[in-house]
C-alpha cells in the first residue's frame, strides 16, 4: 500500500536545495506525508495528529547528515519518536503478591484472549518457574471454557474443571479456593470478549477484578485493529485500570498502528506479542519491529542510521589523524564538541580516542558542565573559516564580532581560545606518546 512513500518523499525534496539542517517548510511538508502514512497504518487520527505536533519542534533544526536527504532525515526523526513511545516498557510480568497471584485478561471478542492465556501460562512456567492454573470465565461463547481446558491439557497446564451453569464470579471464587488448596502459584483468568460500550459486561469485569485483585490486568488486542483502538483501550483502562497490553496476530500483515494508538492514548506498556496460533508463538514486545512496520520504511531508517554511523566514524578518524599530525584545528574541535553532544558528553568521545582510559577516569571525576559544550559550539560557529583554521589571527575586533554572533562575552571567548591552545599542545604531546600523565589539570579546570 505504501511502498511508494519513500519515492514521494524524494519527489518533494528534490526541488528543495540542500541545507545543513531541516527548516520549517521541509518539516511541514514531510510531516504531512508522514501523517498520511500513519493513518494508512491504522494509527488513530487523534494520535497521529498529536504525534505530528510533538515531532515538529524536534525535527526543525535537525542536522541533515551528509548523503541523506531531508525526507530521509524526517523519517528517521519520526521513527525514533515512535520507538520511544512504544518502548520504555519492561516485559516483566508482575507476580509480586501473596500466592495465588492473579492475572486477568480482557478484551474485545475474538482478540485472542483464550490463546494468550495458555501462552502466558507457558511463558511464566519457563521464565519465572511458576505453575499456573488456567480459568475460563467465558460462560457466553459456546464451548469457550472447553477451548481453554483443551489448550491446558495439551500443554500440561492445570485448568479448573468446568461446572455447568456457574456464574463467572462464582467460577472465580472456586478458582481462588482451588488454587490455595493445590498450592498453585498463579491463576490466569480468561474472560469473555466484550465491546467496551456494553455496560453490564464491563461491570462484570470490574466485579471480577475486585474479587480477584489481580497483579496484572491485561488488555489483549488484535494488532490488525483500526481506528477504534484508542477508544477500546481507553474504555477498558477506565473500567479496570489496565496494567499492560498484549498484542496478538503480529504474524499478520497489519501495519500495527493500533499498537501506537493504544500505547499513546493510555500509556499502558505493551509487554508481549502473539506471533502465531501455536502456544510457543509468543514473544516479548519489540518496539522497533512495530515502529518499522508502522512507517513501512525500514530501509530509509537503516540508511540514515548507517550514514550517521559512517559520519561519526569518519569524524573520529579525522580527529585522530589531526591529532597525530599535530594539525588539530578549531574545525576539528567543533567536530569533537558535536560528537560529544551526540554521544552524551565528553566521556563518550574521549573513550573512543586511542589510549585514554586514564584520562577518562579523570574526566569522570572532573564534573564537566555540558552547557559549556553548547556555548563553545556557538562561539566556534560564529568564527569565519579562516579563523577556525588559524585562531591566532583572532584579534580584538574579531572577538567583538564573534561575541555578538554567539552571545558569549569576550571573557568566555578568551577562555575557549586559551583552552584550545592548551589542547593542541597537549595533543602534540600525546601524539608523541607522552600522555602518561593524562590531561593537565589546568585544562580540566577550563572545562569546568
Amino acid at each position: 500500500m505504501f511502498e511508494n512513500l519513500t519515492n514521494k518523499f524524494e519527489e518533494i525534496f528534490s526541488s528543495l536545495k540542500k541545507a545543513p539542517s531541516l527548516d520549517e517548510a521541509q518539516v511541514d511538508e514531510g510531516l504531512r506525508k508522514i501523517r498520511q502514512a500513519l493513518l494508512e497504518a491504522d494509527v488513530a487520527l487523534p494520535v497521529a495528529k498529536e504525534l505530528i505536533k510533538n515531532i515538529k519542534p524536534k525535527a526543525i533544526g535537525q542536522e541533515i547528515i551528509r548523503s541523506t536527504t531531508p525526507g530521509q532525515m524526517i523519517i528517521k526523526v519520526v521513527f525514533d519518536e515512535i520507538v520511544k513511545i512504544l518502548g520504555d516498557t519492561n516485559s516483566e510480568i508482575n507476580l509480586n503478591a501473596v500466592p495465588p497471584v492473579c492475572l486477568m485478561l480482557v478484551g474485545l471478542q475474538g482478540s485472542g484472549k483464550t490463546t494468550t492465556a495458555a501462552k502466558l501460562a507457558k511463558y511464566i512456567e519457563k521464565n519465572n518457574k511458576k505453575k499456573s492454573l488456567l480459568v475460563s470465565l467465558d460462560v457466553y461463547r459456546p464451548a469457550a471454557q472447553e477451548q481453554l481446558n483443551i489448550l491446558g491439557e495439551k500443554n500440561s497446564i492445570q485448568t479448573l474443571p468446568i461446572v455447568k451453569d456457574q456464574l463467572p464470579i462464582d467460577i472465580a471464587k472456586r478458582a481462588l479456593n482451588a488454587a490455595s488448596l493445590s498450592g498453585v502459584d498463579t491463576i490466569i483468568f480468561d474472560t469473555a470478549g466484550r465491546t467496551q460500550i456494553d455496560l453490564s459486561m464491563m461491570n462484570e469485569i470490574k466485579e471480577i477484578k475486585s474479587l480477584t485483585n489481580p497483579t496484572e490486568t491485561i488488555l489483549v488486542a488484535d494488532s490488525l485493529t483500526g481506528q477504534v483502538a484508542v477508544n477500546v483501550a481507553q474504555e477498558f483502562k477506565k473500567a479496570v485500570d489496565l496494567s499492560s497490553i498484549i498484542l496478538t496476530r503480529v504474524d499478520g500483515d497489519g501495519r500495527g498502528g493500533a499498537a501506537l494508538s493504544m500505547k499513546f492514548a493510555t500509556n499502558t506498556p505493551i509487554k508481549f506479542m502473539g506471533t502465531g496460533e501455536k502456544i510457543e508463538q509468543f514473544d516479548v514486545f519489540y518496539p522497533d519491529r512495530i515502529a518499522n512496520r508502522i512507517l513501512g520504511m525500514g530501509d530509509v531508517v537503516s540508511l540514515v542510521e548507517k550514514a550517521t554511523q559512517d559520519l561519526d566514524e569518519e569524524k573520529i578518524k579525522k580527529t585522530e589523524e589531526s591529532l597525530k599530525s599535530g594539525s588539530f584545528s578549531m574545525e576539528d574541535y567543533l567536530n569533537q564538541l558535536r560528537q560529544m553532544k551526540k554521544m552524551g558528553g565528553m566521556e563518550g568521545v574521549l573513550s573512543m580516542l586511542p589510549g585514554v582510559s586514564k584520562i577518562k577516569k579523570q574526566m569522570d571525576n572532573a564534573n564537566i558542565d555540558e552547557n559549556i559544550i553548547k556555548i563553545n559550539e556557538a562561539i566556534i560557529l560564529s568564527m569565519t573559516k579562516e579563523e577556525r583554521l588559524d585562531p591566532k589571527i583572532i584579534n580584538g575586533s574579531r572577538k567583538k564580532r564573534i561575541s555578538s554572533g554567539s552571545g558569549a562575552d569576550t571573557a568566555t571567548i578568551n577562555k575557549l581560545l586559551k583552552q584550545f591552545k592548551m589542547m593542541t599542545n597537549m595533543m602534540k604531546k600525546m601524539s608523541k606518546g607522552g600522555h602518561k600523565d593524562g590531561i593537565p589539570p589546568d585544562i580540566l579546570n577550563q572545562l569546568k
Binding site: G110, T195, G226
Partner: protein, 304 residues
C-alpha cells in the same frame, strides 16, 4: 421492532461521532479548507481509508454550499448518494441464492472475525420454511472449534458433520457434502479455521477444500462468503484481495458492528472490488444478523 429499526439502532451507536461531527462541521461554518480537512478526518475515523476520504472531500469541495440549515439535506444527500452509488449495486439478498440442492456455502476469514457465529446466524435465517440445514465442521485446528459449532447446530436445529481434531479439513468438507447430498439437505454451511491471508500454507489448505468438494459437485461451493470484522483496520482490504485470489468470493459479511467500529472500510472495499455484500453482524445472538441495505448503512453512518 422491525428488522431495520434494530439495524439502525445498532449502527447508530457506532456512528455517533461521525454524525455529530458532521453536524458541527457543516452547519456552523461555511466550507473552507479547514472544514474540508475536518470532514476528511471524520471519514478517516470511520475507517473508510485515506483514498475514499479524499475522494469524498473533493465531492464536498466542488459543491457550492450555502451555510444555512436549508442546505443540510443537500450535504447528507451528497454523502448518501456517494455511498449508495457504490454499495447499492452490491446488495445481495439471501433469499435469492441460486436454487441448488444442496446449496453449498463455504465460510472464509482470518482468525476470530466471527465465522462460526455467523454460520449459526445464517443457519437460522436459511432454515426458515423448513429448509434442512447441515453444518460441516472443517475447522479441525482450533481447540473446541467443533464443540462450538455443535452447540450452534443444536440451537438452530441443524445437523452437523464432524471429524476428530487435527483431521484434514478438506476431507471433512467432502464428507459433509456427501452427507448433505445423500440426505437431501437444502443448505450445507462449511465452517473453516481462521487463517491469516499472508500464510501461504493455510491459503493452500483453503484452496484444497474448494477443490475437493468439486469432486462431488463441480459447481460447489455455490457461495463463498468472506467474513470481515468491523474493528479491523486497513488490513481488511488485503484480506479481500488475498482470499479472492484463492477462490471467487460471492459475498461479504461484516461482523461486530454493534461495537463502536463504524465499518467505513466497506466503502473502500465496495469501491475497489465490487463484491456483493450479504449481511452485517450486530451481536452474538442468533438473530443478530441483518441483511445489508445500502441506504440504511449510509443513513446509520451519518445520523445518530
Amino acid at each position: 421492532m422491525g428488522i431495520f429499526d434494530k439495524f439502525k439502532l445498532g449502527l447508530s451507536k457506532s456512528s455517533k461521532n461521525i454524525s455529530s461531527g458532521l453536524n458541527d462541521l457543516i452547519f456552523k461554518r461555511k466550507i473552507d479548507k479547514n472544514m474540508l480537512d475536518e470532514l476528511e478526518d471524520f471519514l478517516i475515523q470511520s475507517d473508510v481509508g485515506t483514498e475514499s476520504a479524499r475522494e469524498l472531500r473533493e465531492k464536498f469541495a466542488n459543491t457550492k454550499i450555502d451555510p444555512k440549515n436549508s442546505e443540510k439535506d443537500k450535504i447528507f444527500k451528497i454523502f448518501s448518494s456517494y455511498v449508495c452509488e457504490i454499495l447499492k449495486p452490491l446488495e445481495k439478498n439471501l433469499e435469492n441464492l441460486n436454487e441448488n440442492k444442496p446449496n453449498v456455502i463455504l465460510i472464509a476469514g482470518v482468525n476470530g472475525v466471527g465465522k462460526t457465529t455467523t454460520i449459526g446466524k445464517l443457519g437460522k435465517i436459511l432454515g426458515q420454511n423448513n429448509k434442512k440445514i447441515v453444518f460441516g465442521a472443517a475447522d479441525t485446528f482450533r481447540a473446541a472449534a467443533v464443540d462450538q459449532l455443535e452447540i450452534w447446530a443444536k440451537k438452530i436445529n441443524a445437523d452437523i458433520i464432524k471429524s476428530e481434531e487435527g483431521a484434514d479439513p478438506a476431507s471433512v468438507a467432502y464428507k459433509s457434502l456427501e452427507h448433505a447430498k445423500n440426505n437431501n439437505f437444502d443448505y450445507l454451511l462449511i465452517d473453516t479455521a481462521g487463517r491469516l491471508q499472508n500464510k501461504k500454507n493455510l491459503m493452500d489448505e483453503f484452496k484444497k477444500i474448494t477443490k475437493v468438494i468439486k469432486k462431488i459437485d463441480s459447481h460447489a461451493p455455490h457461495e463463498t462468503f468472506l467474513i470481515l470484522d468491523a474493528t479491523t483496520g486497513q488490513s481488511a482490504i488485503n484480506q479481500v484481495e488475498e482470499f479472492k485470489k484463492i477462490t471467487p468470493i460471492t459475498g461479504i459479511i461484516m461482523t461486530k458492528l454493534d461495537g463502536t467500529a463504524k465499518g467505513g472500510i466497506l466503502l473502500a472495499i465496495g469501491k475497489k472490488f465490487k463484491l456483493p455484500i450479504v449481511a452485517l453482524g450486530m451481536g452474538e445472538k442468533e438473530d443478530d444478523l441483518q441483511k445489508f441495505n445500502s441506504e440504511y448503512f449510509s443513513d446509520a453512518l451519518m445520523h445518530s
